[in-house]
Amino acid sequence: MVSKVDRVDPREIQSLQLYLNEYRQQAEIFSQQLAFLEDGRMEAIAAIETLQSLSASPENTVLLQIGSGVSVRAKVPEPDRILVNIGAEVVVEKQNAAAQDYLKDRVTEMEASAKKVAETLERIRSQVNEIAKRIDLAYQQAQMQAAGSPMTPISPKRPTTREED
């Protein structure tokens, strides 16, 4: 198989393979970012739901998880005094509604970021598909050469991304 490919132009295939690996690595990083953003979004939505429930029924007992599947019964004495971590190791007390608004803003921001990341990921995936097709074409040409058909050169140009345009 390799000897057949050598007759096409091994440098073209090598270069395409390098781009393919590079784009796949990038796609992996963006996928992880997307998953991270989605986790953050879901966590914030769950926190909003918790705050709403605490506000609606402050007298109810909650189960406070202490690890290993073990919980203790607890009462939230002041469900309108919420402590919110605003980053940089700073925590601010907010009222329940204000804390919910803060979290809703974070959710909106994370959704906007996730949209951008998803678009970039989509572009990278289409590049990956394009390069994979070119590599397939090169292999097909190698097979045709082996069968004695004339060779058509494959385009060695690097596929462009929107950022490069």
Partner: protein
């Protein structure tokens, strides 16, 4: 392939790789500091929006301690200044390394081109 290169060029290539690693380390550290600055600036903005008498807590060792809003704001401002200074210092290092890197790269290129011409 490397066995056909002179020891001097081999040494230069090793130095180039080392420089590349140093540049990557600096870039990673810079990115980390830049993120910390963004986070601190954001926390500062958020703090400006809360009432002056709102309880504010800051991480001190292993506990969160209640502090005055103005003290926390000052602490964050100092933190931002320190981080920005570190970023500037890293940028300087980055610039110096980048210059040396390009110089070494062109030296290696010249050496390799000379070798190729000599062989033909």
């Amino acid at each position: 392939m490397s066995s056909a290169l002179s020891p001097k060029v081999q040494n230069q290539i090793a130095m180039l790789q080392q420089m590349q690693q140093q540049m990557q380390t600096i870039a990673a550290q810079k990115a980390q500091y830049e993120m910390a600055v963004r986070e601190a600036k954001r926390a500062t903005e958020e703090l400006h929006d809360v009432p002056d008498d709102a309880p504010v807590f800051m991480s001190v060792g292993t506990v969160m301690m209640e502090k005055k809003k103005e003290d926390v704001l000052k602490n964050l401002t100092d933190k931002i200044e320190t981080l920005e200074l570190r970023i500037k210092s890293l940028e300087k290092q980055e610039g110096m390394l980048s210059g040396k890197f390009e110089q070494l790269q062109s030296q290696i290129k010249q050496a390799l081109e000379g070798k190729a011409q000599g062989a033909s």
